[in-house]
Protein backbone atom coordinates (compact mmCIF):
# COMPACT_ATOMS: atom_id res chain seq x y z
CA UNK A 1 0.00 0.00 0.00
CA UNK A 2 2.79 2.43 0.96
CA UNK A 3 4.50 1.87 -2.40
CA UNK A 4 1.35 3.18 -4.08
CA UNK A 5 0.49 5.99 -1.66
CA UNK A 6 4.01 7.41 -1.36
CA UNK A 7 4.22 8.62 -5.02
CA UNK A 8 0.80 10.21 -4.66
CA UNK A 9 1.83 11.98 -1.45
CA UNK A 10 4.99 13.21 -3.15
CA UNK A 11 3.21 14.72 -6.16
CA UNK A 12 0.58 16.27 -3.86
CA UNK A 13 3.36 17.97 -1.87
CA UNK A 14 5.27 19.09 -4.99
CA UNK A 15 2.08 20.43 -6.56
CA UNK A 16 1.21 22.09 -3.25
CA UNK A 17 4.43 23.89 -2.34
CA UNK A 18 4.92 25.20 -5.89
CA UNK A 19 1.41 26.61 -5.90
CA UNK A 20 1.45 30.40 -6.17
CA UNK A 21 -1.07 30.59 -3.32
CA UNK A 22 1.42 28.95 -0.94
CA UNK A 23 4.20 31.27 -2.07
CA UNK A 24 1.79 34.21 -1.63
CA UNK A 25 0.89 33.06 1.88
CA UNK A 26 4.57 32.91 2.88
CA UNK A 27 5.06 36.42 1.41
CA UNK A 28 2.02 37.58 3.38
CA UNK A 29 3.51 36.09 6.50
CA UNK A 30 6.74 38.12 6.00
CA UNK A 31 4.76 41.35 5.37
CA UNK A 32 2.65 40.72 8.50
CA UNK A 33 5.78 40.27 10.60
CA UNK A 34 7.17 43.57 9.38
CA UNK A 35 3.79 45.15 10.21
CA UNK A 36 4.03 43.56 13.67
CA UNK A 37 7.32 45.40 14.34
CA UNK A 38 5.69 48.72 13.39
CA UNK A 39 2.45 48.11 15.32
CA UNK A 40 4.17 47.07 18.56
CA UNK A 41 5.93 50.45 18.63
CA UNK A 42 2.48 51.90 19.37
CA UNK A 43 1.63 49.33 22.06
CA UNK A 44 3.15 51.18 25.06
CA UNK A 45 3.39 48.70 28.01
CA UNK A 46 1.81 45.70 26.25
CA UNK A 47 4.43 45.16 23.57
CA UNK A 48 4.87 41.40 24.21
CA UNK A 49 1.15 40.76 24.46
CA UNK A 50 0.29 42.66 21.28
CA UNK A 51 3.24 41.18 19.35
CA UNK A 52 2.35 37.58 20.26
CA UNK A 53 -1.35 38.10 19.67
CA UNK A 54 -0.68 39.63 16.25
CA UNK A 55 1.85 36.96 15.29
CA UNK A 56 -0.44 34.05 16.25
CA UNK A 57 -3.40 35.66 14.50
CA UNK A 58 -1.31 35.98 11.33
CA UNK A 59 -0.33 32.33 11.69
CA UNK A 60 -3.98 31.25 12.01
CA UNK A 61 -5.04 33.26 8.95
CA UNK A 62 -2.11 31.86 7.01
CA UNK A 63 -3.17 28.29 7.84
CA UNK A 64 -6.76 29.02 6.88
CA UNK A 65 -5.61 30.47 3.53
CA UNK A 66 -3.46 27.43 2.74
CA UNK A 67 -6.32 25.04 3.55
CA UNK A 68 -9.03 26.94 1.73
CA UNK A 69 -7.14 28.25 -1.26
CA UNK A 70 -4.20 25.90 -1.87
CA UNK A 71 -5.76 22.60 -0.75
CA UNK A 72 -9.22 23.78 -1.83
CA UNK A 73 -7.87 24.76 -5.26
CA UNK A 74 -6.19 21.39 -5.63
CA UNK A 75 -9.44 19.61 -4.72
CA UNK A 76 -11.29 21.93 -7.12
CA UNK A 77 -9.06 20.69 -9.96
CA UNK A 78 -9.60 17.09 -8.84
CA UNK A 79 -13.38 17.35 -8.70
CA UNK A 80 -14.34 20.00 -11.23
CA UNK A 81 -11.53 19.50 -13.76
CA UNK A 82 -11.55 15.74 -13.21
CA UNK A 83 -7.83 15.38 -12.44
CA UNK A 84 -8.99 12.83 -9.86
CA UNK A 85 -9.11 10.30 -12.71
CA UNK A 86 -5.34 10.72 -13.11
CA UNK A 87 -4.90 9.03 -9.75
CA UNK A 88 -7.77 6.58 -9.45
CA UNK A 89 -7.48 5.30 -13.02
CA UNK A 90 -4.03 4.14 -11.94
CA UNK A 91 -3.12 1.60 -9.29
CA UNK A 92 -4.38 3.71 -6.41
CA UNK A 93 -7.51 2.72 -4.53
CA UNK A 94 -10.04 5.35 -3.52
CA UNK A 95 -9.10 4.92 0.15
CA UNK A 96 -5.45 5.44 -0.76
CA UNK A 97 -6.42 8.55 -2.70
CA UNK A 98 -7.99 10.10 0.43
CA UNK A 99 -5.04 9.07 2.59
CA UNK A 100 -2.53 10.35 0.02
CA UNK A 101 -4.29 13.66 -0.37
CA UNK A 102 -4.56 14.15 3.42
CA UNK A 103 -0.92 13.32 4.13
CA UNK A 104 0.23 15.34 1.11
CA UNK A 105 -1.71 18.43 2.20
CA UNK A 106 -0.55 17.91 5.79
CA UNK A 107 3.10 17.89 4.67
CA UNK A 108 2.42 21.06 2.65
CA UNK A 109 0.88 22.61 5.77
CA UNK A 110 3.88 21.51 7.87
CA UNK A 111 6.20 23.12 5.31
CA UNK A 112 4.30 26.44 5.31
CA UNK A 113 3.72 26.37 9.09
CA UNK A 114 7.40 25.70 9.76
CA UNK A 115 8.54 28.62 7.60
CA UNK A 116 5.90 30.94 9.07
CA UNK A 117 6.76 29.88 12.63
CA UNK A 118 10.47 30.56 12.05
CA UNK A 119 9.68 33.97 10.51
CA UNK A 120 7.28 34.71 13.39
CA UNK A 121 9.75 33.69 16.11
CA UNK A 122 12.55 35.76 14.55
CA UNK A 123 10.18 38.73 14.51
CA UNK A 124 9.23 38.19 18.16
CA UNK A 125 12.93 37.94 19.14
CA UNK A 126 13.57 41.18 17.29
CA UNK A 127 10.64 42.90 19.06
CA UNK A 128 11.88 41.55 22.40
CA UNK A 129 15.34 42.90 21.61
CA UNK A 130 13.86 46.32 20.78
CA UNK A 131 11.55 46.41 23.84
CA UNK A 132 13.18 44.17 26.51
CA UNK A 133 11.33 45.80 29.43
CA UNK A 134 7.86 45.24 27.99
CA UNK A 135 8.31 41.70 26.69
CA UNK A 136 8.12 39.14 29.53
CA UNK A 137 6.44 36.33 27.64
CA UNK A 138 8.16 32.96 27.17
CA UNK A 139 8.75 31.46 23.78
CA UNK A 140 7.85 27.93 24.93
CA UNK A 141 4.15 28.75 25.14
CA UNK A 142 4.36 30.61 21.83
CA UNK A 143 5.77 27.50 20.13
CA UNK A 144 3.09 25.37 21.83
CA UNK A 145 0.45 27.80 20.53
CA UNK A 146 1.82 27.32 16.98
CA UNK A 147 1.72 23.56 17.41
CA UNK A 148 -1.87 23.70 18.64
CA UNK A 149 -2.89 26.01 15.80
CA UNK A 150 -1.36 23.48 13.40
CA UNK A 151 -3.39 20.67 14.98
CA UNK A 152 -6.48 22.83 14.46
CA UNK A 153 -5.50 23.23 10.77
CA UNK A 154 -5.25 19.44 10.44
CA UNK A 155 -8.78 19.06 11.79
CA UNK A 156 -10.10 21.71 9.41
CA UNK A 157 -8.30 19.94 6.57
CA UNK A 158 -10.15 16.70 7.29
CA UNK A 159 -13.40 18.70 7.28
CA UNK A 160 -12.54 20.06 3.80
CA UNK A 161 -11.68 16.57 2.55
CA UNK A 162 -14.93 15.16 3.93
CA UNK A 163 -17.03 17.88 2.29
CA UNK A 164 -15.12 17.40 -0.98
CA UNK A 165 -15.97 13.70 -0.84
CA UNK A 166 -19.64 14.42 -0.27
CA UNK A 167 -20.40 17.40 -2.50
CA UNK A 168 -20.28 17.64 -6.28
CA UNK A 169 -18.83 21.15 -6.28
CA UNK A 170 -15.58 22.20 -4.67
CA UNK A 171 -17.02 25.68 -4.02
CA UNK A 172 -19.71 24.15 -1.83
CA UNK A 173 -17.02 22.19 0.04
CA UNK A 174 -14.96 25.34 0.62
CA UNK A 175 -17.98 27.38 1.75
CA UNK A 176 -19.07 24.65 4.18
CA UNK A 177 -15.51 24.45 5.54
CA UNK A 178 -15.46 28.21 6.14
CA UNK A 179 -18.77 27.86 7.98
CA UNK A 180 -17.36 25.04 10.13
CA UNK A 181 -14.26 27.15 10.84
CA UNK A 182 -16.35 29.96 12.32
CA UNK A 183 -18.69 27.64 14.22
CA UNK A 184 -15.76 25.53 15.44
CA UNK A 185 -13.96 28.55 16.85
CA UNK A 186 -16.90 29.63 18.97
CA UNK A 187 -18.81 26.43 19.74
CA UNK A 188 -16.74 25.56 22.84
CA UNK A 189 -17.29 28.95 24.44
CA UNK A 190 -20.97 28.94 23.49
CA UNK A 191 -21.47 25.52 25.01
CA UNK A 192 -19.58 26.48 28.16
CA UNK A 193 -21.79 29.55 28.49
CA UNK A 194 -24.96 27.53 27.90
CA UNK A 195 -23.93 25.06 30.59
CA UNK A 196 -22.98 27.81 33.06
CA UNK A 197 -25.13 29.47 35.67
CA UNK A 198 -25.14 32.65 33.61
CA UNK A 199 -27.25 30.90 30.98
CA UNK A 200 -29.95 30.29 33.57
CA UNK A 201 -29.97 33.99 34.34
CA UNK A 202 -30.07 34.78 30.61
CA UNK A 203 -33.00 32.36 30.21
CA UNK A 204 -31.44 29.88 27.77
CA UNK A 205 -34.04 27.22 26.87
CA UNK A 206 -33.07 23.57 27.52
CA UNK A 207 -33.62 22.65 23.86
CA UNK A 208 -31.00 25.21 22.84
CA UNK A 209 -28.52 23.65 25.26
CA UNK A 210 -29.19 20.19 23.79
CA UNK A 211 -28.71 21.56 20.28
CA UNK A 212 -25.39 23.13 21.28
CA UNK A 213 -24.26 19.84 22.81
CA UNK A 214 -25.03 18.04 19.53
CA UNK A 215 -23.26 20.67 17.43
CA UNK A 216 -20.28 20.58 19.80
CA UNK A 217 -20.13 16.82 19.33
CA UNK A 218 -20.14 17.05 15.51
CA UNK A 219 -18.20 20.22 14.74
CA UNK A 220 -14.47 20.34 15.63
CA UNK A 221 -13.88 22.39 18.77
CA UNK A 222 -11.25 24.62 17.15
CA UNK A 223 -11.35 27.05 20.07
CA UNK A 224 -9.48 24.42 22.11
CA UNK A 225 -6.52 24.85 19.78
CA UNK A 226 -6.35 28.61 20.08
CA UNK A 227 -3.75 29.28 22.76
CA UNK A 228 -3.27 32.98 21.97
CA UNK A 229 -4.56 34.03 25.40
CA UNK A 230 -2.19 31.61 27.17
CA UNK A 231 0.84 32.70 25.14
CA UNK A 232 0.14 36.44 25.30
CA UNK A 233 -0.71 36.54 29.02
CA UNK A 234 1.97 34.08 30.24
CA UNK A 235 -0.65 31.64 31.54
CA UNK A 236 0.39 28.07 32.36
CA UNK A 237 -1.02 25.32 30.12
CA UNK A 238 -2.09 22.19 31.97
CA UNK A 239 -0.39 19.02 30.68
CA UNK A 240 -3.66 17.04 30.88
CA UNK A 241 -5.28 19.69 28.67
CA UNK A 242 -2.47 19.22 26.11
CA UNK A 243 -2.77 15.42 26.12
CA UNK A 244 -6.58 15.44 25.98
CA UNK A 245 -6.68 17.99 23.17
CA UNK A 246 -4.16 16.10 21.03
CA UNK A 247 -6.02 12.81 21.61
CA UNK A 248 -9.31 14.54 20.69
CA UNK A 249 -7.80 15.90 17.46
CA UNK A 250 -6.29 12.55 16.45
CA UNK A 251 -9.57 10.69 17.02
CA UNK A 252 -11.57 13.42 15.24
CA UNK A 253 -9.25 13.39 12.20
CA UNK A 254 -9.35 9.59 12.01
CA UNK A 255 -13.14 9.48 12.16
CA UNK A 256 -13.49 12.15 9.46
CA UNK A 257 -10.94 10.44 7.22
CA UNK A 258 -12.75 7.12 7.57
CA UNK A 259 -16.05 8.82 6.72
CA UNK A 260 -14.38 10.52 3.72
CA UNK A 261 -13.05 7.16 2.51
CA UNK A 262 -16.48 5.60 2.87
CA UNK A 263 -18.14 8.44 0.92
CA UNK A 264 -15.42 8.46 -1.72
CA UNK A 265 -15.78 4.71 -2.34
CA UNK A 266 -19.37 5.28 -3.41
CA UNK A 267 -18.74 8.42 -5.40
CA UNK A 268 -19.09 8.55 -9.18
CA UNK A 269 -16.90 10.84 -11.30
CA UNK A 270 -19.21 11.73 -14.18
Amino acid sequence: MLSRVYPFIKITVLDGIRNRIVIGVIALSIISCLANIVITNLAAQDVGKVAIDFELSTFSIMGLFVILFACGNSLYRDIDKKTVSLAISRAISRKEYILGRFVGYLVTLIFVSFISTIIGLITLYLIKFLHPKHFEQTFGTVILAHLFAFIGFSMLLTVLILFSSLTTSSYTAILLTIMIYFIGNSIGELRDFAESLASVVAGFPESFKVMLRIVHFIVPDLGKFDLKVFAANVLPVDISFIVFSIAYAVVYCMILLLLSMKAFEKREFI
Binding site: P7, F8, L14, R18, S85, L86, I88, R90, A91, F269
Partner: protein, 247 residues
Protein backbone atom coordinates in the same frame (compact mmCIF):
# COMPACT_ATOMS: atom_id res chain seq x y z
CA UNK B 1 -7.59 -16.01 -27.30
CA UNK B 2 -7.80 -14.66 -23.75
CA UNK B 3 -10.21 -11.91 -22.95
CA UNK B 4 -8.88 -8.60 -21.59
CA UNK B 5 -12.13 -6.65 -21.31
CA UNK B 6 -15.69 -7.89 -21.02
CA UNK B 7 -18.79 -5.71 -21.15
CA UNK B 8 -21.95 -7.78 -20.68
CA UNK B 9 -25.39 -6.16 -20.94
CA UNK B 10 -24.20 -2.98 -19.26
CA UNK B 11 -26.67 -0.15 -18.70
CA UNK B 12 -26.03 3.18 -17.07
CA UNK B 13 -28.22 6.10 -16.08
CA UNK B 14 -26.77 9.31 -14.68
CA UNK B 15 -28.44 10.76 -11.66
CA UNK B 16 -27.91 14.48 -12.15
CA UNK B 17 -28.76 15.45 -8.60
CA UNK B 18 -31.65 15.74 -6.18
CA UNK B 19 -34.79 16.90 -7.97
CA UNK B 20 -33.12 16.70 -11.37
CA UNK B 21 -33.85 14.36 -14.24
CA UNK B 22 -32.22 10.95 -14.55
CA UNK B 23 -30.33 10.64 -17.80
CA UNK B 24 -30.03 7.18 -19.36
CA UNK B 25 -26.77 6.98 -21.33
CA UNK B 26 -26.03 3.30 -21.99
CA UNK B 27 -28.51 0.56 -22.85
CA UNK B 28 -27.57 -3.09 -22.63
CA UNK B 29 -24.09 -2.62 -24.08
CA UNK B 30 -22.12 -5.82 -24.71
CA UNK B 31 -18.73 -6.35 -26.30
CA UNK B 32 -15.39 -7.87 -25.48
CA UNK B 33 -11.78 -7.06 -26.28
CA UNK B 34 -9.36 -9.92 -26.69
CA UNK B 35 -5.64 -10.00 -26.06
CA UNK B 36 -3.68 -8.43 -28.90
CA UNK B 37 -6.76 -6.78 -30.40
CA UNK B 38 -6.95 -3.10 -31.34
CA UNK B 39 -10.56 -2.21 -30.67
CA UNK B 40 -11.93 0.97 -32.22
CA UNK B 41 -14.86 2.53 -30.39
CA UNK B 42 -16.48 5.27 -32.41
CA UNK B 43 -19.61 7.33 -32.18
CA UNK B 44 -20.84 10.92 -32.38
CA UNK B 45 -20.54 13.29 -29.41
CA UNK B 46 -22.76 12.21 -26.52
CA UNK B 47 -23.12 8.65 -27.82
CA UNK B 48 -21.69 7.07 -24.66
CA UNK B 49 -17.97 6.63 -25.45
CA UNK B 50 -16.65 8.52 -22.42
CA UNK B 51 -19.22 6.83 -20.17
CA UNK B 52 -17.97 3.46 -21.39
CA UNK B 53 -14.37 4.40 -20.63
CA UNK B 54 -15.35 5.68 -17.16
CA UNK B 55 -17.06 2.36 -16.50
CA UNK B 56 -13.96 0.44 -17.60
CA UNK B 57 -11.85 2.54 -15.22
CA UNK B 58 -14.36 2.20 -12.37
CA UNK B 59 -14.81 5.98 -12.19
CA UNK B 60 -18.55 5.30 -12.38
CA UNK B 61 -20.51 2.14 -11.68
CA UNK B 62 -22.97 0.25 -13.91
CA UNK B 63 -26.65 0.06 -12.95
CA UNK B 64 -26.95 -3.32 -14.60
CA UNK B 65 -24.64 -5.80 -16.28
CA UNK B 66 -21.11 -7.07 -15.74
CA UNK B 67 -17.72 -5.56 -16.48
CA UNK B 68 -14.49 -7.52 -16.18
CA UNK B 69 -10.91 -6.42 -16.74
CA UNK B 70 -8.37 -9.21 -16.97
CA UNK B 71 -11.13 -11.43 -15.54
CA UNK B 72 -11.54 -9.28 -12.44
CA UNK B 73 -13.70 -6.41 -11.19
CA UNK B 74 -12.50 -3.10 -12.71
CA UNK B 75 -12.06 -1.67 -9.20
CA UNK B 76 -9.25 -4.13 -8.47
CA UNK B 77 -6.14 -2.02 -7.81
CA UNK B 78 -3.57 -4.59 -8.91
CA UNK B 79 -4.97 -5.00 -12.43
CA UNK B 80 -4.68 -1.25 -12.93
CA UNK B 81 -0.91 -1.68 -13.03
CA UNK B 82 -1.47 -3.38 -16.39
CA UNK B 83 -3.49 -0.48 -17.80
CA UNK B 84 -2.40 2.74 -19.45
CA UNK B 85 -5.13 5.35 -19.73
CA UNK B 86 -4.86 8.52 -21.75
CA UNK B 87 -7.76 10.94 -21.10
CA UNK B 88 -9.19 13.03 -23.90
CA UNK B 89 -8.66 16.33 -22.10
CA UNK B 90 -5.12 16.62 -20.74
CA UNK B 91 -5.83 18.01 -17.25
CA UNK B 92 -2.92 17.14 -15.01
CA UNK B 93 -1.40 18.59 -11.88
CA UNK B 94 -0.41 22.08 -13.03
CA UNK B 95 2.73 22.53 -10.98
CA UNK B 96 4.37 19.19 -11.81
CA UNK B 97 6.88 18.74 -14.61
CA UNK B 98 6.29 16.11 -17.34
CA UNK B 99 9.10 14.06 -15.78
CA UNK B 100 7.40 14.09 -12.37
CA UNK B 101 4.10 13.06 -13.99
CA UNK B 102 5.86 10.15 -15.71
CA UNK B 103 7.66 9.28 -12.44
CA UNK B 104 4.31 9.16 -10.63
CA UNK B 105 2.77 6.88 -13.25
CA UNK B 106 5.78 4.59 -13.28
CA UNK B 107 6.06 4.46 -9.52
CA UNK B 108 2.42 3.53 -8.83
CA UNK B 109 2.76 0.84 -11.50
CA UNK B 110 5.64 -0.63 -9.50
CA UNK B 111 8.71 0.55 -11.48
CA UNK B 112 11.91 1.54 -9.68
CA UNK B 113 13.55 4.95 -10.13
CA UNK B 114 16.32 3.69 -12.45
CA UNK B 115 13.82 2.02 -14.77
CA UNK B 116 11.57 5.08 -14.79
CA UNK B 117 14.48 7.35 -15.72
CA UNK B 118 15.57 5.03 -18.52
CA UNK B 119 12.08 4.66 -19.97
CA UNK B 120 11.25 8.35 -19.56
CA UNK B 121 14.43 9.37 -21.40
CA UNK B 122 13.55 6.98 -24.23
CA UNK B 123 9.99 8.31 -24.53
CA UNK B 124 11.02 11.97 -24.22
CA UNK B 125 13.49 11.31 -27.04
CA UNK B 126 10.94 9.52 -29.20
CA UNK B 127 8.37 12.31 -28.87
CA UNK B 128 11.04 15.03 -29.39
CA UNK B 129 10.06 16.30 -25.95
CA UNK B 130 13.46 16.94 -24.30
CA UNK B 131 13.18 20.77 -24.26
CA UNK B 132 9.98 20.56 -22.18
CA UNK B 133 10.80 17.97 -19.51
CA UNK B 134 11.57 20.46 -16.74
CA UNK B 135 8.79 22.96 -17.52
CA UNK B 136 5.67 22.95 -15.39
CA UNK B 137 2.69 21.30 -17.12
CA UNK B 138 0.66 24.51 -16.85
CA UNK B 139 3.32 26.24 -18.98
CA UNK B 140 2.97 23.72 -21.83
CA UNK B 141 0.78 24.10 -24.92
CA UNK B 142 -2.23 21.78 -25.24
CA UNK B 143 -0.38 19.55 -27.67
CA UNK B 144 2.67 19.27 -25.43
CA UNK B 145 0.48 18.61 -22.37
CA UNK B 146 -1.10 15.80 -24.43
CA UNK B 147 2.38 14.45 -25.20
CA UNK B 148 3.25 14.59 -21.47
CA UNK B 149 0.08 12.59 -20.83
CA UNK B 150 0.97 10.04 -23.53
CA UNK B 151 4.44 9.57 -22.02
CA UNK B 152 2.93 9.10 -18.54
CA UNK B 153 0.49 6.56 -20.04
CA UNK B 154 3.23 4.52 -21.70
CA UNK B 155 6.00 4.71 -19.08
CA UNK B 156 5.14 1.39 -17.41
CA UNK B 157 4.72 -0.48 -20.69
CA UNK B 158 1.07 -1.39 -20.00
CA UNK B 159 -0.53 -4.54 -21.39
CA UNK B 160 -3.81 -2.78 -22.10
CA UNK B 161 -3.98 0.77 -23.45
CA UNK B 162 -7.11 2.88 -23.27
CA UNK B 163 -6.60 5.82 -25.59
CA UNK B 164 -9.38 8.42 -25.56
CA UNK B 165 -8.86 10.64 -28.61
CA UNK B 166 -5.06 10.34 -28.49
CA UNK B 167 -4.49 12.71 -31.42
CA UNK B 168 -6.31 15.67 -29.80
CA UNK B 169 -4.22 18.83 -29.93
CA UNK B 170 -1.22 17.20 -31.58
CA UNK B 171 0.63 18.76 -34.51
CA UNK B 172 1.26 16.68 -37.67
CA UNK B 173 4.61 15.42 -36.32
CA UNK B 174 3.00 14.45 -33.01
CA UNK B 175 0.19 12.64 -34.87
CA UNK B 176 2.68 10.68 -36.91
CA UNK B 177 4.72 9.74 -33.83
CA UNK B 178 1.65 8.61 -31.89
CA UNK B 179 0.32 6.76 -34.94
CA UNK B 180 3.63 4.95 -35.41
CA UNK B 181 3.68 4.12 -31.70
CA UNK B 182 0.17 2.60 -31.88
CA UNK B 183 1.22 0.49 -34.89
CA UNK B 184 4.36 -0.61 -33.03
CA UNK B 185 2.23 -1.69 -30.04
CA UNK B 186 -0.15 -3.47 -32.39
CA UNK B 187 2.77 -5.41 -33.92
CA UNK B 188 4.01 -6.25 -30.42
CA UNK B 189 0.60 -7.81 -29.69
CA UNK B 190 -0.58 -5.26 -27.10
CA UNK B 191 -4.28 -4.74 -26.55
CA UNK B 192 -5.65 -1.28 -27.33
CA UNK B 193 -9.07 0.31 -26.79
CA UNK B 194 -9.15 3.39 -28.98
CA UNK B 195 -11.76 6.10 -29.34
CA UNK B 196 -11.37 8.66 -32.07
CA UNK B 197 -13.41 10.96 -34.24
CA UNK B 198 -10.78 10.60 -36.94
CA UNK B 199 -12.22 7.61 -38.79
CA UNK B 200 -9.20 7.22 -41.05
CA UNK B 201 -7.12 6.61 -37.89
CA UNK B 202 -9.61 4.01 -36.67
CA UNK B 203 -9.54 2.32 -40.08
CA UNK B 204 -5.72 2.37 -40.04
CA UNK B 205 -5.13 1.02 -36.55
CA UNK B 206 -8.07 -1.15 -35.50
CA UNK B 207 -8.86 -4.84 -35.94
CA UNK B 208 -12.41 -4.58 -34.62
CA UNK B 209 -14.73 -1.59 -34.80
CA UNK B 210 -17.77 -0.84 -32.68
CA UNK B 211 -20.10 2.05 -33.47
CA UNK B 212 -22.09 3.38 -30.54
CA UNK B 213 -25.04 5.70 -31.03
CA UNK B 214 -27.54 6.97 -28.47
CA UNK B 215 -26.11 4.61 -25.86
CA UNK B 216 -26.51 1.44 -27.94
CA UNK B 217 -23.97 -0.56 -29.89
CA UNK B 218 -25.24 -0.26 -33.45
CA UNK B 219 -22.46 -2.16 -35.14
CA UNK B 220 -19.72 -4.49 -33.97
CA UNK B 221 -17.62 -6.06 -36.67
CA UNK B 222 -14.06 -6.86 -37.69
CA UNK B 223 -12.45 -4.26 -39.92
CA UNK B 224 -11.88 -6.87 -42.60
CA UNK B 225 -15.57 -7.76 -42.77
CA UNK B 226 -16.57 -4.10 -42.81
CA UNK B 227 -14.26 -3.11 -45.60
CA UNK B 228 -15.28 -6.13 -47.69
CA UNK B 229 -18.55 -4.28 -48.30
CA UNK B 230 -16.59 -1.85 -50.46
CA UNK B 231 -17.70 1.19 -48.44
CA UNK B 232 -15.39 3.43 -46.47
CA UNK B 233 -15.70 3.50 -42.67
CA UNK B 234 -17.04 7.05 -42.97
CA UNK B 235 -19.90 5.85 -45.24
CA UNK B 236 -20.65 2.93 -42.93
CA UNK B 237 -20.64 5.27 -39.91
CA UNK B 238 -23.10 7.66 -41.56
CA UNK B 239 -25.35 4.76 -42.55
CA UNK B 240 -25.34 3.32 -39.04
CA UNK B 241 -26.26 6.57 -37.32
CA UNK B 242 -28.85 7.37 -40.00
CA UNK B 243 -27.15 10.32 -41.67
CA UNK B 244 -27.62 9.32 -45.29
CA UNK B 245 -27.83 12.90 -46.52
CA UNK B 246 -24.35 13.67 -45.11
CA UNK B 247 -23.00 10.64 -46.91
Amino acid sequence: MSQILLFESVSKTYNLGIGKKRLPVLFDVSFSVNKGEVFGFVGPNGAGKSTTIKLILNLIFPDKGRIELFGKHPGNVEIKRKIGYLPEIPYYYDYLTPYELAWFSGKVAGLDDVNIKKKAEHLFGYFLFEPHTTKKIKELSKGNAQKAGIIATLIHDPEFLILDEPMTGLDPIGRKLVGDMILKFKNEGKTIFLTSHILSDVERFCDTIAIIFEGKIKLLESKEALLKTGNSLEDIFCDVIGLKEVK
